[in-house]
């Protein structure tokens, strides 16, 4: 076995090549499951052997040759069984054509991502679909990250792929006119995978998901270099990823942003994020991810320089709120506003959220409310809100932090 680093690099090449081949094959046959099926054994063999024997000179050709052998077997089995599975024949022909192709296989991954994040696909399944088709993650790993039984996730993935085939979902990059809206769906799916990986730090299965999402973010920026929102989203992910090591102290306890040791921040990731944000800002008007990345940039600047910039953060949230009207933005804006106008003004901003039933079991709402009430000196309602927040928390480190805060309130 090669050292971990080289092994991971080999795995990356395998995933890269696999995703490109699946995308190309699926776009030709309109059959995502068939394309995955045709390449799955070859991909599994690559994941097993490349980290040990090294990556072949032409990874695509290696995978295709292995897949072709298997597909020929499948065709001969089919003839003896006389099963009318024409697509097996079709896939075999496509693979044969690809194997003989002298030029590089065209990259259709972008088209496949647009198919996976099509409005006709259930919102919650878009990220899992992209993770499976583009990166070749298996249903068990995706299920673990999304907190679902493997069988349930497997069934949902199969259903979604059938839907792509049967509903006539196109494999193409949308026209410039539709692009912004459709791209937003793709970015939302990737970002959903990232936040899954980001929020649940405690679970071993999940942190890798954040890495995979960042990798998808880099991919989409490289495939759509002129889209500022794609850069904005990648920048947003990198800003938060840069703080990863600072979020927990040596004993594993949660450390809030304002108390993090900035020496633990990854300066190279921050520089990368700043550069992307700068490019995005130069390219055009602000979208949701661009604004959120700008907010993260402001947080980084404040902590690094020690100079307060809360009014600028509140102004950015104003833009975001005008754009989204989301209760989550109202909440985050109020928390920032407390630093400018005090906790009472922030609490008044939260009043409309109390009628929103979704907030009743939304942990950040209760945590923010408890935090603001305790700063305002309303200790009894603060303790109540913190208690509800603790009851809603699934991360043990965050739970421990809130329990300690509650204890200081009660004493």
């Amino acid at each position: 076995m090669l050292a971990g680093e080289a092994g991971r690099a080999a795995e990356r090449v395998a995933r890269e090549s696999y995703g490109r081949l699946v995308a190309f094959l699926a776009a030709r046959t309109r059959d995502v499951a068939g394309a995955e099926d045709a390449l799955s054994e070859a991909f599994a063999a690559a994941l097993r052997t490349w980290p040990v024997d090294g990556v072949p000179d032409n990874p695509d050709a290696w995978l295709l040759t292995a897949a072709r052998r298997r597909q020929l077997d499948a065709v001969s089995r089919m003839q003896t069984r006389k099963a009318g599975e024409e697509h097996v024949q079709l896939v075999a022909e496509e693979i044969a054509a690809m194997t003989n192709e002298r030029d590089a296989i065209p990259d259709r991954r972008l088209a496949l991502m647009f198919a996976c994040a099509h409005p006709a696909i259930e919102r919650g399944m878009r990220a899992p679909l992209i993770l499976q088709t583009i990166l070749g993650l298996n249903a068990e790993d995706i299920a673990a990250a999304f907190l679902l039984p493997p069988g349930t996730m497997g069934q949902r993935l199969v259903r979604a792929k059938t839907r792509i085939r049967d509903a006539g979902i196109p494999f193409r990059v949308p026209d410039p006119k539709e692009l912004p809206e459709r791209l937003a769906d793709v970015l939302d799916a990737i970002y959903a995978a990232y936040t899954k990986g980001w929020n649940e730090v405690g679970d071993d299965a999940i942190p890798e998901l954040a890495d995979e999402a960042i990798w998808l973010g880099r991919l989409i920026v490289s495939l759509l270099p002129d889209e500022p929102e794609a850069k904005g989203m990648l920048a947003l992910m990198l800003y938060t990823a840069a703080r990863c090591a600072a979020r927990r102290d040596a004993s594993g306890a949660y450390v809030p942003l304002e108390q993090q040791d900035t020496r633990l921040w990854d300066a190279s990731l921050i520089a990368l994020a700043e550069n992307l944000l700068h490019q995005a800002n130069r390219a055009g008007p602000s979208g949701r991810y661009q604004i959120e990345a700008a907010i993260q940039s402001a947080h980084v600047a404040r902590r690094l320089t020690g100079r307060s910039n809360w009014p600028a953060v509140v102004a950015l949230y104003d833009h975001l709120l005008a754009r989204t009207g989301s209760p989550v933005v109202i909440l985050n804006r109020a928390v920032a506003r407390a630093e400018v106008d005090g906790p009472r003004a922030a609490l008044a901003d939260l009043t409309p959220l109390a009628a929103d039933k979704r907030m009743l079991s939304y942990q950040p709402y209760w945590a923010a409310k408890g935090h603001l009430l305790s700063r305002a000196g309303d200790l009894v309602p603060a303790a109540e809100a913190l208690t509800v927040a603790i009851g809603l928390t699934t991360d043990e480190a965050v739970k421990g932090y809130l329990l300690r805060r509650l204890a200081t309130l009660v004493n």
């Binding site: 919650g124 907190l147 679902l148 349930t152 039933k357 009743l360 079991s361 209760w366 109540e384 208690t387 509800v388 927040a389 603790i390 009851g391 809603l392 928390t393 699934t394 739970k399 329990l403 509650l406």
Partner: protein
């Protein structure tokens, strides 16, 4: 969709837990459950050693000491959540401190249907 969340405890692991911390966590969980729409706190049961199991078979009634199955994890209580799908029910299972001391079985409640009332 309503789900009954069946708490099964490893009673030995529970006894070994720091009772004061568990009490605070459980209190917070109950508060959160009480706030959420359509969810009910349910009940905690006494230990499985207090159980009695009754069964009728071939016209004979047997009454036995103890739980119906002698397993490491025993039914210890339940609560009910009303959420859009299984996905949210799983999050409610993870929130429950009992998931650290055993397991939580999630079962959709079979809702009475109009056709049954004929």
């Amino acid at each position: 969709m309503r789900f009954m969340m069946l708490i099964h405890h490893d009673e030995a692991a529970l006894t070994a837990a720091v009772q004061k911390e568990l009490g605070t966590e459980y209190g917070a969980f109950m508060e959160a459950l009480a706030k959420a729409e359509g969810c009910t706190a349910g009940n905690r049961l006494q230990s499985s050693s207090t159980a009695t199991t009754v069964r009728q078979q071939d016209g004979k009634t047997s009454v036995l000491d103890g739980p119906y199955a002698d397993t490491k994890e025993q039914l210890a209580g339940y609560y009910i959540v009303d959420v859009p799908s299984l996905d949210e029910a799983i999050v409610w299972a993870k929130r429950c401190p009992s998931s650290k001391y055993g397991s939580i079985e999630i079962r959709p409640i079979l809702e009475p249907q109009a056709s049954w009332k004929r």
